[in-house]
Amino acid sequence: MRSVLILAVFFALLIVFGAALAPHDPNALNIPKRLSPPSTEFLLGTDALGRDVLSRLLHGARWSLGLAFVVSLISLAIGTCAGLIAAQGGKIADWVMMRVTDTFLAFPELVAAVVIAGLLGAGTWSLIFALSLTGWMRFARVARGTGLSVKTRGYVVQAQLAGMPAWSIARWHYLPALLPSLTVVWTGAFARAILGISALGFLGFGVQPPNPEWGSMLLDARVHMRSTPLLMIWPGLVVVTCVLAINLSGDALRDAIAKDA
C-alpha cells in the first residue's frame, strides 16, 4: 500500500508541478534551432519546430498522466458500481450485469477505443469517454467477487441485523474489504490508460497538437527517425518508465495482500 501511495504522490506532483519545472515554453517555436541535439540550453534537444523536448515532456505529464488518472478513476467508479449491483442485486441483476460486462470485454480494448475516439472526433473528451468505456470491466469483476464474499461475512450480517443504514455498511464494512483489491486493479488500469492515451495519440486520435502529449510527440518524431533518432527515444522512455513503475508497485501491493490473507 505504501509503495503505491508514494508513487501516486510522485505522479500527482509531476502532473501538478511538472510544467513549472520546464525550462522553456513547450510551444515556443525556434525554427533556426530545429532538430538540434542535446545541449546546455536544450537538455534533450529540440523537435522539428525547434521546441524544447524536455519542456514538452514535462508539460506532457499533465496530458498523458493526468488524463490517464482521470480515466482510471472514472473506470473505477463505473466498474465498482456495476460490480456491487451484481453482488447485491440478486440473481437476475447479477446475471444481467455480468453478461453486460462480458459483452464489453469482448471488444479488444484498444480497437474499441480507437473506434469510439475516431468516430466521436479526435479530442480530449472523446479520449476520456473512449478509454473509460473500455476500461471498467476488470473493476466490475473484482468488485463483484469481493462484494459477494463480504456479503456473507459475519460482521455484515450483524450490521444488517442491527439495522445499520446501507451507506454506513457500505462505508465501514464493504469499503475496507474492497480497497486493497480495487487498488491493485487500479494500478493496472492506470498503466493501461497511459498506454492507451499514448497509443491513441500515436494514431492521431488522441490529444491534438500542439498540446504536448507523449504519444503524439512520438508520432511527430517518427518522420525524423533517420536524421534525429533521439527525438523518438525520449517520449517512449518516459512512457515505459511510468508504466513500469506503476506495474511494479501494483505487483508489490498484490504480493503484500496475498501474504496478509
Binding site: 461475512r153 459475519g154 460482521y155 450480517v157 450483524q158 450490521a159 441485523l161 442491527a162 439495522g163 445499520m164 443504514p165 465501514w172 464494512h173 475496507p176
Partner: protein, 241 residues
Amino acid sequence: MLTVDTIAVKRGSKLALQNIAFTLAAGKTLAVVGESGAGKSTLIAAILGFLKPIQGQIAWSGQPVRSCRPALVMQEPRAAFNPVLPLRRSVLEPVVAAGQSVPEARIKRLCDGLEIKEEILERRPNEVSIGQAQRVGILRALIAAPPLVLFDEPLSALDAVTQKHTARLIRDLQAEEGFAALIVTHDLGYAVAHSDEIAVLRAGQIEEISTPQQFVTAPKAGYCQALRDAAIALGGLEAAA
C-alpha cells in the same frame, strides 16, 4: 413470544425445513439440537428473516421478528467483527442504529457480568482471544436489551473450560435480563443442562420437543433415543443423567 407456525423453507431447489412449529416465551430457553445438515442454521436464517419461508408464519408477538430487533451470537466469534475496526464500534452498532445514546453504565455492567475488561473493546478482533471475542459477541448481542437472542453454536469454537464458563454466563445474564433464548447446538450435554425445552431436528423436520428431563429419561423411541444413548456413551450427559 416467538411463534413459528408450521413453516417450510427452501434452500436452492431443496426443501431444507418443513413442518416446523414451536413457540418460545420471554425468559425461556429453547435448545435446537441435531447433526450438521439437519437445518439448524437455516432455521436461524428463517427466524431472522434472511430466508423467506415458502409456507407458514414466523412472528414475534404478532409482529415481524425483525421489528423486535433480535440479536444473534455467531459460531465464529472473530468473523462476527469487522477486522479493521476496534471491537467497540461493532459492539455499539445496535445502539447507533437505533439512534440511542451510548449506555456506558450498561456496558460496564455487562462487561462485569461477562468477566471481560472494558479496555479490550478498544482492540481489533485479531488482538483478543477466541473466548474473549465470543464474550464480546454476547455483549454486542445484549447491548440494546433485545427481547430475543439467537445463539448459533455459541460454544463450538471455544475450548472445554471456556465452554462451561461461557454457558454459565449466558444463563446468568438471561436470568437478569429476561430475554428469550434460542440456542442451536449439536452439543446435547449443553442443551440438557441449560435449556427449558429441547427440540430435536433431523433432516429438516422436528422429531420431538420435550423438557430436558423427558429427553434424558424417556426420549421418543427411534432417533431421539439413539441420540441420547450415543451421548451417554460418550459421557456428554453425565451431569444430567
